[in-house]
Symmetry: C2
Subunit: 253 residues, 2 copies
Protein backbone atom coordinates (compact mmCIF):
# COMPACT_ATOMS: atom_id res chain seq x y z
CA UNK A 1 0.00 0.00 0.00
CA UNK A 2 1.22 3.47 -0.83
CA UNK A 3 1.74 5.74 2.15
CA UNK A 4 -0.90 8.44 1.60
CA UNK A 5 0.04 10.51 4.62
CA UNK A 6 2.94 12.30 3.01
CA UNK A 7 4.35 13.42 -0.33
CA UNK A 8 7.60 11.88 -1.52
CA UNK A 9 9.86 14.17 -3.49
CA UNK A 10 12.86 13.88 -5.75
CA UNK A 11 15.31 16.19 -7.46
CA UNK A 12 17.18 15.54 -10.70
CA UNK A 13 20.69 16.80 -11.37
CA UNK A 14 21.69 16.71 -15.04
CA UNK A 15 25.47 16.85 -15.38
CA UNK A 16 27.05 17.78 -18.67
CA UNK A 17 28.69 20.55 -20.68
CA UNK A 18 26.87 19.27 -23.77
CA UNK A 19 23.47 20.30 -22.39
CA UNK A 20 24.66 23.77 -21.29
CA UNK A 21 26.37 24.42 -24.64
CA UNK A 22 23.13 23.69 -26.50
CA UNK A 23 24.78 20.88 -28.48
CA UNK A 24 22.58 18.15 -27.02
CA UNK A 25 18.84 18.34 -26.40
CA UNK A 26 18.18 16.87 -22.95
CA UNK A 27 15.74 13.98 -22.88
CA UNK A 28 16.27 12.77 -19.34
CA UNK A 29 14.17 15.40 -17.53
CA UNK A 30 10.97 14.26 -19.23
CA UNK A 31 11.66 10.54 -18.88
CA UNK A 32 12.75 10.72 -15.25
CA UNK A 33 9.75 12.94 -14.44
CA UNK A 34 7.28 10.54 -16.02
CA UNK A 35 8.89 7.51 -14.37
CA UNK A 36 8.94 9.16 -10.92
CA UNK A 37 5.26 9.99 -11.17
CA UNK A 38 4.42 6.31 -11.67
CA UNK A 39 6.47 5.53 -8.53
CA UNK A 40 4.36 8.01 -6.55
CA UNK A 41 7.27 10.45 -6.23
CA UNK A 42 7.08 14.15 -7.22
CA UNK A 43 9.90 15.71 -9.18
CA UNK A 44 10.31 18.99 -7.29
CA UNK A 45 13.31 20.54 -8.98
CA UNK A 46 15.86 19.99 -11.71
CA UNK A 47 19.30 21.49 -12.07
CA UNK A 48 21.72 21.31 -14.96
CA UNK A 49 25.40 21.92 -14.18
CA UNK A 50 28.65 21.62 -16.11
CA UNK A 51 31.25 18.87 -15.70
CA UNK A 52 32.66 20.90 -12.81
CA UNK A 53 33.34 19.41 -9.39
CA UNK A 54 32.42 22.46 -7.30
CA UNK A 55 29.12 22.91 -9.14
CA UNK A 56 28.22 19.22 -8.74
CA UNK A 57 29.15 19.15 -5.03
CA UNK A 58 27.03 22.21 -4.26
CA UNK A 59 23.97 20.90 -6.08
CA UNK A 60 24.25 17.35 -4.69
CA UNK A 61 24.46 18.49 -1.10
CA UNK A 62 21.50 20.86 -1.30
CA UNK A 63 19.27 18.58 -3.35
CA UNK A 64 19.85 15.35 -1.43
CA UNK A 65 19.20 17.10 1.88
CA UNK A 66 15.84 18.53 0.96
CA UNK A 67 14.36 15.73 -1.10
CA UNK A 68 13.65 12.07 -0.38
CA UNK A 69 15.64 11.09 -3.45
CA UNK A 70 18.24 12.64 -5.71
CA UNK A 71 18.84 11.30 -9.20
CA UNK A 72 21.79 12.33 -11.35
CA UNK A 73 22.38 11.71 -15.05
CA UNK A 74 25.63 12.02 -16.97
CA UNK A 75 29.36 11.91 -16.43
CA UNK A 76 29.89 8.24 -15.47
CA UNK A 77 31.69 7.04 -18.60
CA UNK A 78 35.35 6.07 -19.12
CA UNK A 79 36.85 9.38 -20.30
CA UNK A 80 38.58 12.30 -18.58
CA UNK A 81 35.44 14.49 -18.68
CA UNK A 82 33.48 11.92 -16.63
CA UNK A 83 33.90 13.29 -13.11
CA UNK A 84 30.50 12.59 -11.54
CA UNK A 85 31.62 9.75 -9.25
CA UNK A 86 34.56 11.73 -7.86
CA UNK A 87 32.42 14.82 -7.35
CA UNK A 88 29.64 12.93 -5.56
CA UNK A 89 32.17 11.12 -3.35
CA UNK A 90 33.61 14.53 -2.48
CA UNK A 91 30.11 15.83 -1.72
CA UNK A 92 29.50 12.88 0.62
CA UNK A 93 32.97 13.05 2.14
CA UNK A 94 33.86 9.46 1.25
CA UNK A 95 36.62 7.83 -0.78
CA UNK A 96 36.30 6.46 -4.28
CA UNK A 97 36.82 2.69 -4.43
CA UNK A 98 36.60 -0.06 -7.06
CA UNK A 99 33.36 -1.98 -6.51
CA UNK A 100 34.19 -5.71 -6.91
CA UNK A 101 30.84 -6.59 -8.48
CA UNK A 102 31.13 -3.72 -10.95
CA UNK A 103 34.62 -4.90 -11.84
CA UNK A 104 33.32 -8.44 -12.42
CA UNK A 105 30.46 -7.12 -14.59
CA UNK A 106 32.88 -5.08 -16.70
CA UNK A 107 35.33 -8.01 -17.01
CA UNK A 108 32.54 -10.19 -18.40
CA UNK A 109 31.17 -7.44 -20.64
CA UNK A 110 34.54 -6.56 -22.19
CA UNK A 111 35.77 -10.17 -22.43
CA UNK A 112 34.67 -10.27 -26.08
CA UNK A 113 35.17 -6.54 -26.66
CA UNK A 114 38.91 -6.05 -26.33
CA UNK A 115 39.33 -6.61 -22.60
CA UNK A 116 39.17 -4.44 -19.48
CA UNK A 117 41.67 -1.55 -19.78
CA UNK A 118 42.33 1.30 -17.32
CA UNK A 119 39.73 3.60 -18.88
CA UNK A 120 37.03 0.92 -18.71
CA UNK A 121 37.98 0.08 -15.12
CA UNK A 122 37.15 3.71 -14.25
CA UNK A 123 33.51 2.68 -14.66
CA UNK A 124 33.85 0.29 -11.67
CA UNK A 125 34.76 3.22 -9.39
CA UNK A 126 32.07 4.17 -6.85
CA UNK A 127 31.80 6.28 -3.70
CA UNK A 128 32.75 3.95 -0.79
CA UNK A 129 29.65 2.20 0.56
CA UNK A 130 27.67 2.33 -2.68
CA UNK A 131 25.50 -0.35 -4.26
CA UNK A 132 25.04 -0.89 -7.99
CA UNK A 133 22.10 -0.21 -10.31
CA UNK A 134 21.98 -2.86 -13.06
CA UNK A 135 22.48 -1.77 -16.68
CA UNK A 136 21.37 -4.30 -19.28
CA UNK A 137 22.43 -2.03 -22.12
CA UNK A 138 26.14 -1.45 -21.91
CA UNK A 139 27.76 -3.21 -18.97
CA UNK A 140 28.76 -0.27 -16.79
CA UNK A 141 26.28 -0.11 -13.88
CA UNK A 142 24.64 2.86 -12.21
CA UNK A 143 25.32 3.59 -8.56
CA UNK A 144 23.15 4.03 -5.49
CA UNK A 145 24.52 5.57 -2.31
CA UNK A 146 22.22 6.72 0.45
CA UNK A 147 19.36 8.52 -1.28
CA UNK A 148 21.47 9.40 -4.33
CA UNK A 149 20.98 7.47 -7.58
CA UNK A 150 23.75 8.00 -10.12
CA UNK A 151 22.71 7.15 -13.68
CA UNK A 152 24.08 7.35 -17.20
CA UNK A 153 23.51 10.35 -19.46
CA UNK A 154 22.66 8.46 -22.66
CA UNK A 155 18.84 8.37 -22.52
CA UNK A 156 18.43 4.74 -23.63
CA UNK A 157 20.84 3.61 -20.89
CA UNK A 158 19.17 5.88 -18.32
CA UNK A 159 15.88 4.21 -19.28
CA UNK A 160 17.31 0.76 -18.57
CA UNK A 161 18.52 1.90 -15.14
CA UNK A 162 15.13 3.41 -14.30
CA UNK A 163 13.54 0.14 -15.36
CA UNK A 164 15.83 -1.74 -12.97
CA UNK A 165 14.75 0.60 -10.13
CA UNK A 166 11.01 0.31 -10.85
CA UNK A 167 9.06 -0.66 -7.75
CA UNK A 168 12.11 -0.53 -5.45
CA UNK A 169 11.58 3.00 -4.07
CA UNK A 170 9.06 3.95 -1.43
CA UNK A 171 6.55 6.50 -2.69
CA UNK A 172 3.09 7.86 -2.10
CA UNK A 173 0.10 8.24 -4.35
CA UNK A 174 0.85 8.95 -8.00
CA UNK A 175 -0.47 12.22 -9.36
CA UNK A 176 -3.27 11.49 -11.80
CA UNK A 177 -4.04 13.86 -14.63
CA UNK A 178 -6.81 14.54 -17.11
CA UNK A 179 -6.74 16.93 -20.04
CA UNK A 180 -9.56 19.00 -21.46
CA UNK A 181 -8.87 20.88 -24.68
CA UNK A 182 -10.74 23.81 -26.17
CA UNK A 183 -10.39 26.05 -29.23
CA UNK A 184 -10.36 29.19 -27.12
CA UNK A 185 -7.78 31.83 -26.22
CA UNK A 186 -6.95 30.99 -22.58
CA UNK A 187 -7.28 34.69 -21.76
CA UNK A 188 -11.03 34.52 -22.47
CA UNK A 189 -11.71 31.88 -19.83
CA UNK A 190 -9.10 32.70 -17.17
CA UNK A 191 -11.81 33.37 -14.54
CA UNK A 192 -13.46 30.00 -15.21
CA UNK A 193 -10.14 28.20 -14.76
CA UNK A 194 -9.32 30.01 -11.53
CA UNK A 195 -12.78 29.43 -10.05
CA UNK A 196 -12.91 25.76 -11.07
CA UNK A 197 -9.54 25.16 -9.39
CA UNK A 198 -10.72 26.95 -6.24
CA UNK A 199 -13.92 24.88 -6.12
CA UNK A 200 -12.01 21.58 -6.08
CA UNK A 201 -9.80 20.91 -3.06
CA UNK A 202 -6.43 19.31 -3.86
CA UNK A 203 -6.73 19.87 -7.60
CA UNK A 204 -4.37 21.97 -9.74
CA UNK A 205 -5.25 23.18 -13.23
CA UNK A 206 -2.52 24.14 -15.68
CA UNK A 207 -3.30 26.06 -18.86
CA UNK A 208 -1.17 25.34 -21.94
CA UNK A 209 -2.00 27.52 -24.93
CA UNK A 210 -1.10 26.72 -28.52
CA UNK A 211 -1.43 28.14 -32.03
CA UNK A 212 -2.29 25.49 -34.58
CA UNK A 213 -4.06 25.24 -37.95
CA UNK A 214 -4.35 29.04 -37.91
CA UNK A 215 -6.35 29.06 -34.66
CA UNK A 216 -5.52 29.54 -31.00
CA UNK A 217 -6.54 27.01 -28.40
CA UNK A 218 -5.40 25.58 -25.10
CA UNK A 219 -5.17 22.34 -23.22
CA UNK A 220 -6.14 22.43 -19.57
CA UNK A 221 -4.40 19.78 -17.48
CA UNK A 222 -6.11 18.87 -14.23
CA UNK A 223 -3.94 17.10 -11.64
CA UNK A 224 -4.85 15.37 -8.40
CA UNK A 225 -3.98 12.25 -6.43
CA UNK A 226 -7.72 11.63 -6.00
CA UNK A 227 -9.40 9.98 -9.00
CA UNK A 228 -12.91 11.04 -7.98
CA UNK A 229 -11.90 14.69 -7.51
CA UNK A 230 -10.12 14.59 -10.85
CA UNK A 231 -13.25 13.38 -12.61
CA UNK A 232 -15.53 15.86 -10.84
CA UNK A 233 -13.24 18.77 -11.64
CA UNK A 234 -12.80 17.77 -15.30
CA UNK A 235 -16.58 17.50 -15.68
CA UNK A 236 -17.07 20.89 -14.02
CA UNK A 237 -14.55 22.51 -16.35
CA UNK A 238 -16.17 20.94 -19.42
CA UNK A 239 -19.60 22.12 -18.21
CA UNK A 240 -18.21 25.60 -17.59
CA UNK A 241 -16.83 25.76 -21.13
CA UNK A 242 -20.13 24.49 -22.55
CA UNK A 243 -22.01 27.18 -20.60
CA UNK A 244 -20.02 29.80 -22.53
CA UNK A 245 -20.96 28.14 -25.82
CA UNK A 246 -17.59 26.43 -26.33
CA UNK A 247 -16.92 22.78 -26.93
CA UNK A 248 -14.66 20.95 -24.48
CA UNK A 249 -12.53 18.22 -26.08
CA UNK A 250 -11.96 15.39 -23.59
CA UNK A 251 -8.37 14.17 -23.68
CA UNK A 252 -7.15 17.46 -25.13
CA UNK A 253 -6.48 18.75 -28.62
Amino acid sequence: MADTSRTWTAALLVIGDEILSGRTQDKNVAQVAAWLNVQGIRLKEVRVVADDEAAIVEAVNILRARNDYLFTTGGIGPTHDDITVDAIAAALGVDVVIHPDARAILERYYETRGGLNDARLRMARVPAGADLIPNRMSGAPGIKIGNVFIMAGVPSITAGMLDALTGTLEGGLPVLSATVGCWVPESEIADLLRQTERDHEGVAIGSYPFFREGRVGANFVIRSTDAAQLETCSAALAAGLAATGREAVPGGI
Copy 2:
Protein backbone atom coordinates in the same frame (compact mmCIF):
# COMPACT_ATOMS: atom_id res chain seq x y z
CA MET B 1 34.96 44.79 -29.62
CA ALA B 2 34.29 41.91 -27.30
CA ASP B 3 35.86 42.27 -23.86
CA THR B 4 38.33 39.39 -23.80
CA SER B 5 39.53 39.98 -20.26
CA ARG B 6 36.63 38.24 -18.56
CA THR B 7 33.98 35.57 -19.02
CA TRP B 8 30.33 36.62 -19.04
CA THR B 9 27.92 34.13 -17.53
CA ALA B 10 24.20 33.52 -17.48
CA ALA B 11 21.77 31.22 -15.71
CA LEU B 12 18.42 30.03 -17.01
CA LEU B 13 15.43 29.39 -14.77
CA VAL B 14 12.69 27.33 -16.42
CA ILE B 15 9.39 27.80 -14.57
CA GLY B 16 6.58 25.33 -15.04
CA ASP B 17 4.77 22.34 -13.58
CA GLU B 18 4.41 20.94 -17.10
CA ILE B 19 8.17 20.34 -17.39
CA LEU B 20 8.47 18.72 -13.95
CA SER B 21 5.47 16.47 -14.58
CA GLY B 22 7.05 15.14 -17.76
CA ARG B 23 4.07 16.30 -19.84
CA THR B 24 6.09 18.78 -21.86
CA GLN B 25 9.55 18.26 -23.31
CA ASP B 26 11.56 21.42 -22.62
CA LYS B 27 13.03 23.07 -25.69
CA ASN B 28 14.15 26.35 -24.18
CA VAL B 29 17.37 25.13 -22.55
CA ALA B 30 18.93 24.22 -25.90
CA GLN B 31 17.75 27.32 -27.73
CA VAL B 32 18.75 29.75 -24.97
CA ALA B 33 22.13 28.00 -24.63
CA ALA B 34 22.87 28.25 -28.34
CA TRP B 35 21.74 31.88 -28.50
CA LEU B 36 23.81 32.87 -25.46
CA ASN B 37 26.92 31.36 -26.96
CA VAL B 38 26.60 33.57 -30.03
CA GLN B 39 26.34 36.58 -27.69
CA GLY B 40 29.64 35.57 -26.05
CA ILE B 41 27.89 34.58 -22.82
CA ARG B 42 28.32 31.18 -21.12
CA LEU B 43 25.29 29.35 -19.79
CA LYS B 44 26.62 28.21 -16.39
CA GLU B 45 23.57 26.61 -14.82
CA VAL B 46 19.93 25.81 -15.42
CA ARG B 47 17.20 25.20 -12.89
CA VAL B 48 13.66 23.98 -13.41
CA VAL B 49 11.13 24.78 -10.68
CA ALA B 50 7.37 24.47 -10.32
CA ASP B 51 4.83 27.31 -10.50
CA ASP B 52 5.58 27.94 -6.83
CA GLU B 53 6.48 31.37 -5.47
CA ALA B 54 8.94 30.26 -2.80
CA ALA B 55 10.84 28.06 -5.27
CA ILE B 56 11.02 30.86 -7.85
CA VAL B 57 12.13 33.47 -5.29
CA GLU B 58 14.93 31.26 -3.99
CA ALA B 59 16.25 30.43 -7.44
CA VAL B 60 16.00 34.00 -8.77
CA ASN B 61 17.91 35.50 -5.89
CA ILE B 62 20.75 32.99 -6.01
CA LEU B 63 21.09 32.91 -9.78
CA ARG B 64 20.91 36.66 -10.46
CA ALA B 65 23.51 37.33 -7.79
CA ARG B 66 26.14 34.98 -9.13
CA ASN B 67 25.73 35.43 -12.86
CA ASP B 68 25.92 38.45 -15.14
CA TYR B 69 22.48 37.64 -16.51
CA LEU B 70 19.49 35.58 -15.46
CA PHE B 71 16.90 34.46 -18.01
CA THR B 72 13.57 32.94 -17.06
CA THR B 73 11.06 31.15 -19.27
CA GLY B 74 7.43 30.38 -18.50
CA GLY B 75 4.58 31.59 -16.33
CA ILE B 76 3.88 35.03 -17.86
CA GLY B 77 0.51 34.29 -19.48
CA PRO B 78 -2.99 35.44 -18.51
CA THR B 79 -4.15 32.56 -16.31
CA HIS B 80 -4.09 31.86 -12.56
CA ASP B 81 -1.09 29.52 -12.84
CA ASP B 82 1.07 32.31 -14.32
CA ILE B 83 2.82 33.64 -11.21
CA THR B 84 6.29 34.45 -12.51
CA VAL B 85 5.93 38.26 -12.45
CA ASP B 86 4.62 38.30 -8.88
CA ALA B 87 7.31 35.88 -7.71
CA ILE B 88 10.15 37.85 -9.33
CA ALA B 89 8.80 41.14 -7.92
CA ALA B 90 8.77 39.45 -4.50
CA ALA B 91 12.35 38.25 -5.03
CA LEU B 92 13.44 41.80 -5.90
CA GLY B 93 11.37 43.39 -3.13
CA VAL B 94 9.43 45.66 -5.49
CA ASP B 95 5.72 46.14 -6.25
CA VAL B 96 3.93 44.85 -9.31
CA VAL B 97 2.61 47.65 -11.54
CA ILE B 98 0.88 47.97 -14.91
CA HIS B 99 3.46 49.05 -17.50
CA PRO B 100 1.78 51.74 -19.68
CA ASP B 101 3.59 50.68 -22.86
CA ALA B 102 2.66 47.03 -22.28
CA ARG B 103 -0.94 48.06 -21.75
CA ALA B 104 -0.89 50.04 -25.00
CA ILE B 105 0.65 47.08 -26.88
CA LEU B 106 -2.02 44.72 -25.53
CA GLU B 107 -4.84 47.19 -26.33
CA ARG B 108 -3.67 47.36 -29.93
CA TYR B 109 -3.12 43.60 -30.18
CA TYR B 110 -6.54 42.67 -28.78
CA GLU B 111 -8.43 45.46 -30.58
CA THR B 112 -9.43 42.98 -33.31
CA ARG B 113 -9.37 39.95 -30.99
CA GLY B 114 -12.22 40.58 -28.56
CA GLY B 115 -10.75 43.45 -26.56
CA LEU B 116 -8.56 43.79 -23.48
CA ASN B 117 -10.19 41.98 -20.53
CA ASP B 118 -8.87 41.59 -16.97
CA ALA B 119 -7.02 38.36 -17.71
CA ARG B 120 -5.26 39.87 -20.72
CA LEU B 121 -4.39 42.98 -18.73
CA ARG B 122 -2.47 40.69 -16.34
CA MET B 123 0.12 40.44 -19.11
CA ALA B 124 0.87 44.18 -18.74
CA ARG B 125 1.89 43.65 -15.10
CA VAL B 126 5.63 44.01 -14.42
CA PRO B 127 7.91 44.42 -11.41
CA ALA B 128 8.15 48.19 -10.75
CA GLY B 129 11.05 49.70 -12.68
CA ALA B 130 11.05 47.11 -15.47
CA ASP B 131 11.51 47.62 -19.20
CA LEU B 132 9.85 45.55 -21.92
CA ILE B 133 11.23 42.96 -24.33
CA PRO B 134 9.38 43.13 -27.67
CA ASN B 135 7.33 40.13 -28.75
CA ARG B 136 6.36 40.09 -32.42
CA MET B 137 4.50 36.80 -32.05
CA SER B 138 1.63 37.30 -29.65
CA GLY B 139 1.45 40.82 -28.29
CA ALA B 140 2.36 40.26 -24.64
CA PRO B 141 5.94 41.48 -24.14
CA GLY B 142 8.79 39.98 -22.14
CA ILE B 143 10.23 41.93 -19.24
CA LYS B 144 13.73 43.12 -18.31
CA ILE B 145 14.53 44.29 -14.80
CA GLY B 146 18.11 44.75 -13.67
CA ASN B 147 19.98 41.71 -14.98
CA VAL B 148 16.83 39.54 -15.08
CA PHE B 149 15.16 38.78 -18.43
CA ILE B 150 11.66 37.34 -18.12
CA MET B 151 10.53 35.48 -21.22
CA ALA B 152 7.61 33.36 -22.41
CA GLY B 153 7.57 29.57 -22.07
CA VAL B 154 6.22 28.73 -25.54
CA PRO B 155 9.47 28.10 -27.49
CA SER B 156 8.47 30.01 -30.66
CA ILE B 157 7.63 33.10 -28.57
CA THR B 158 10.82 32.71 -26.53
CA ALA B 159 12.71 32.63 -29.82
CA GLY B 160 11.17 35.95 -30.89
CA MET B 161 12.15 37.55 -27.59
CA LEU B 162 15.74 36.26 -27.89
CA ASP B 163 15.82 37.68 -31.39
CA ALA B 164 14.75 41.07 -30.04
CA LEU B 165 17.60 40.92 -27.49
CA THR B 166 20.27 39.90 -30.01
CA GLY B 167 23.28 42.18 -29.86
CA THR B 168 21.97 44.20 -26.90
CA LEU B 169 23.86 42.37 -24.12
CA GLU B 170 27.51 42.83 -23.30
CA GLY B 171 29.49 39.63 -23.69
CA GLY B 172 32.96 38.28 -24.27
CA LEU B 173 34.36 35.90 -26.83
CA PRO B 174 32.00 33.19 -28.08
CA VAL B 175 33.09 29.63 -27.45
CA LEU B 176 34.01 28.01 -30.75
CA SER B 177 33.70 24.29 -31.24
CA ALA B 178 34.86 21.62 -33.65
CA THR B 179 33.79 18.00 -33.76
CA VAL B 180 35.86 14.96 -34.69
CA GLY B 181 34.01 11.65 -34.99
CA CYS B 182 35.43 8.14 -34.93
CA TRP B 183 34.04 4.59 -35.05
CA VAL B 184 35.76 3.63 -31.81
CA PRO B 185 34.62 2.81 -28.29
CA GLU B 186 35.61 5.92 -26.32
CA SER B 187 37.09 3.66 -23.65
CA GLU B 188 39.83 2.54 -26.10
CA ILE B 189 41.18 6.04 -26.63
CA ALA B 190 40.56 7.68 -23.24
CA ASP B 191 44.30 8.30 -22.70
CA LEU B 192 44.63 10.02 -26.08
CA LEU B 193 41.71 12.34 -25.27
CA ARG B 194 43.07 13.24 -21.84
CA GLN B 195 46.58 13.88 -23.16
CA THR B 196 45.38 15.92 -26.15
CA GLU B 197 43.32 18.14 -23.86
CA ARG B 198 46.31 18.60 -21.50
CA ASP B 199 48.58 19.53 -24.41
CA HIS B 200 46.34 22.40 -25.50
CA GLU B 201 45.89 25.28 -23.08
CA GLY B 202 42.37 26.65 -22.84
CA VAL B 203 40.81 23.78 -24.77
CA ALA B 204 38.18 21.36 -23.44
CA ILE B 205 37.38 18.05 -25.11
CA GLY B 206 34.05 16.34 -24.50
CA SER B 207 33.46 12.71 -25.49
CA TYR B 208 29.94 11.71 -26.59
CA PRO B 209 29.57 8.01 -27.34
CA PHE B 210 26.80 6.50 -29.44
CA PHE B 211 25.59 3.14 -30.71
CA ARG B 212 24.41 3.29 -34.31
CA GLU B 213 24.12 0.96 -37.30
CA GLY B 214 25.14 -1.88 -34.99
CA ARG B 215 28.49 -0.24 -34.14
CA VAL B 216 29.81 1.91 -31.34
CA GLY B 217 31.44 5.24 -32.00
CA ALA B 218 31.92 8.63 -30.42
CA ASN B 219 32.01 12.28 -31.31
CA PHE B 220 34.70 14.35 -29.67
CA VAL B 221 33.76 18.00 -29.27
CA ILE B 222 36.66 20.41 -28.88
CA ARG B 223 35.81 23.83 -27.42
CA SER B 224 37.89 27.00 -27.14
CA THR B 225 37.52 30.74 -27.56
CA ASP B 226 40.73 30.68 -29.64
CA ALA B 227 40.23 29.64 -33.28
CA ALA B 228 43.90 28.76 -33.83
CA GLN B 229 44.06 26.59 -30.70
CA LEU B 230 40.85 24.90 -31.76
CA GLU B 231 42.30 24.00 -35.14
CA THR B 232 45.62 22.83 -33.73
CA CYS B 233 43.91 20.66 -31.13
CA SER B 234 41.46 19.14 -33.63
CA ALA B 235 44.34 18.30 -35.97
CA ALA B 236 46.32 16.76 -33.10
CA LEU B 237 43.38 14.59 -32.10
CA ALA B 238 42.82 13.46 -35.69
CA ALA B 239 46.53 12.64 -36.01
CA GLY B 240 46.43 10.74 -32.71
CA LEU B 241 43.49 8.67 -33.91
CA ALA B 242 45.24 8.00 -37.24
CA ALA B 243 48.37 6.88 -35.37
CA THR B 244 46.29 4.09 -33.76
CA GLY B 245 45.01 3.03 -37.20
CA ARG B 246 41.59 4.68 -36.86
CA GLU B 247 39.97 7.14 -39.20
CA ALA B 248 38.96 10.53 -37.81
CA VAL B 249 35.81 11.96 -39.37
CA PRO B 250 36.00 15.78 -39.47
CA GLY B 251 32.72 17.37 -38.45
CA GLY B 252 31.64 14.27 -36.57
CA ILE B 253 29.57 11.21 -37.37
